[in-house]
Symmetry: C2
Subunit: 107 residues, 2 copies
């Protein structure tokens, strides 16, 4: 049988996008590097929770981090992440538009 482990690895990377908080982090991190506390300021919530989400994203290769003194800075590992995320957002928008136009047709 064909080896499917590449699909598991690929899905693991995609899982790093599969949570509202993590999508928000990508949104906030678009293009720039930001410290943990700045991200926390923008997203809100518990810092333990944010730390866990960030660590998932770093482990899956979506983000990279570096430590400077007491602070840890995060950024997207590549512009590809932002592009992929943007495409998925468009798929969502397309779907919402289609639903809207179906509704308009019915009235």
């Amino acid at each position: 049988m064909k080896d499917k482990s590449i699909y598991t690895l690929h899905a693991d990377v995609c899982k790093a996008l599969a949570h509202a908080i993590r999508i928000e982090i990508i949104d906030v991190l678009k293009g720039k590097e930001m410290s943990f506390s700045e991200i926390l300021e923008r997203t809100g919530g518990l810092k333990s929770n944010l730390s866990q989400h960030l660590s998932v994203m770093v482990n899956k290769g979506i983000l990279v981090s570096r430590k400077n003194g007491q602070n840890v800075f995060f950024k997207l590992s590549s512009p590809k992440v932002q592009r992929a995320c943007h495409l998925m957002r468009e798929v969502l928008i397309d779907k919402l538009n289609k639903h809207q136009s179906i509704l308009n047709h019915k009235k």
Copy 2:
């Protein structure tokens, strides 16, 4: 507070990519339309399981389906899906390459 429901919707679309079987389905469906049974032939597994995965993908707007007689045909809802998926695959490959080059440096 800022409204975050767009992040939830966006993450829901991304969740449709977050499973090995669903990544395989996208891979198999690249560019072409295919019937349920053809997809089942290629991916293997239980048909009830495949049917559930396909229904998740249709509901999230990743796939569209049409019925013709006894057969149901599926295709990607847009080339954007394939492009996003490909970008995430590249993020994975980049990560694997980086790990590889770190290993080479150590020996």
